[in-house]
Subunit: 284 residues, 2 copies
DNA sequence: TATTTATTGAAATTATATTTCAAACCAATT
DNA sequence: AATTGGTTTGAAATATAATTTCAATAAATA
């Protein structure tokens, strides 16, 4: 469970202010020491202050210093991971199939580890309360939005997934106070998605973002930010393979958490959906 | 490094005084909670006192409570669990996230194992030769079709993914001899998809199916059949979670095999695509 | 240059861990 | 049954650590 602390530190390293960076470097170099030290000890060895240590924890999206220690401790017992491998010219089908599977698995594992359960909790509460959820993504992310829409409609939650910015603007303009706008963009920098979330925020509509784990414009705008694992893009993966599975995975987790929270009701809705589809199909 | 905390607790269990034993039992039953709680929280939930908690730590030969937490955290980082498990009522977010991940991983592994490389080879040849590929799926599978379309368009392969049966019939009526109709249906029994593939076959257009691994109507109709792992449907998974990831995985494998076969060309097309998107985005 | 904005660590505050200690318990002995 | 000596216990006191606040400073922007 709790782990991935070192990965978080690594990822954020060059986006941090100087003092936090010094601490981050120390952590990466001496993870074993960190696990058994206190805030002020860490402040000392890295020539900074306790406040900076706490700030670093928060910058990483963690609850506090304890949380960081727990996660780093988790990293230290884990066997070395396989890592990502890109597809190369004239590779055998067998190799392609296996690399693809192991990249996907890697990505799922990392994404699961990176989940911030406080944010997830907030997202679930917001989604439960909302009358309508407007999913919005463009390009590859539009597919994630559609998938999410399908899922939520099945449990009788109003959901939209248009890709037309004008339409989405209309929806937001008329949105209820409890509704949610859910922006999806792997890079977190897609202008259309940023605009849509900005609009929503301006109108006081709640926003959730789903981006790669990073300081992205989108995640900084959103009230609640969810993340998938980040992996360096290599030419072929850029056509979005594992990253997309990770996004779908997060959607699944949201859906299933909500489903688990209202178990009986969900089962009922899903049964109704199934019957309805059966009815349509038989009719021909 | 730091781990084995749970083992220590287990070993000592019956040598401990009553109050410490209660705490030890709680730790063994709820290790996840323990990792994120304080001395007094643990004292409360186990109906003892803070002092007893500290005494337990010392009894185990540890330095203190922090040390215990770190070691338990280490124990919790275990390799992904095996097998499928359905979501149950009022499950914790953490459990949902991990069950979902391990189900997905399991499904991907199985699907990779099930690949028939002769059929895959045939599918790749057919797709390489085709001027246009018509992906067709309904409901959850329509999303897989859209994903496939996006991928193939990126490498300059004509691709459609309509859900309107009339439109698809039109496309097939006018299809080239080398074109491919690609039917997607997890159950393999969706009437619309069966009809579309039947039509294609009747018109002498090549057909590929993607279904669960089973004797399905769809796979028996298709010239080339591809499969994802089959797993008994439980109420919640029926909302298609892992099965859909497995379908996307197969699409990825197809795409990447084709990409690997025409490496230079693919890289060129993907670069062009990226530039085009960049251009559109900048324009505003 | 003036003005805002971000970064920083010392000190205050708050939370948490640990120790102390008197009371309660219990088993063995008279 | 009463006495004794050793355990065990948790409330309260204390010590330690984590977190927040805030004013000073540095960097960016106008």
């Amino acid at each position: 469970m709790a782990s991935g602390g070192l990965k978080m530190v690594q990822k954020m390293l060059d986006k941090l202010p100087a003092s936090e960076q010094k601490i981050a470097e120390y952590i990466l170099e001496h993870p074993h020491e960190v696990v058994n030290s206190t805030v002020s000890q860490l402040a000392n060895v890295s020539n900074t202050s306790g406040a900076a240590v706490i700030r670093l924890c928060k910058s990483l999206g963690l609850k506090g210093f304890q949380d960081l220690k727990i996660r780093v401790a988790g990293d230290l017992v884990k066997p070395a991971e396989q890592g990502y491998r890109d597809i190369e010219p004239s590779e055998s089908m067998y190799q392609v199939a296996h690399k693809t599977a192991s990249n996907a698995i890697q990505s799922l594992k990392e994404t699961a580890e990176l989940i911030n359960y406080d944010e997830l909790q907030k997202a679930i509460e917001a989604l439960l309360k909302a009358k309508n959820v407007h999913f919005f993504g463009i390009g590859a992310s539009s597919i994630i939005a559609l998938d999410a829409q399908q899922k939520f409609l099945r449990i009788n939650k109003g959901a939209t997934a248009f890709t037309d910015v004008h339409l989405v603007a209309t929806l937001i303009a008329n949105a209820d106070q409890d509704d949610v706008v859910f922006g999806i963009s792997f890079s977190g920098e897609t202008p259309e998605v940023i605009n849509v979330l900005s609009l929503a925020k301006d109108r006081g509509v709640q926003t959730i973002s789903l981006t790669k784990f990073d300081q992205t414009t989108l995640s900084s705008i959103a009230d609640i930010s969810l993340f998938t694992s980040y992996s360096n893009e290599a030419p072929f993966r850029s056509a979005a393979t594992s990253s997309r599975l990770a996004q779908l995975y997060i959607i699944d987790v949201l859906f299933l958490c909500i489903a688990a929270r209202q178990y009986e009701e969900t089962v009922k809705h899903i049964d109704k959906t199934r019957e309805a589809i059966h009815f349509i199909t038989k009719k021909k």
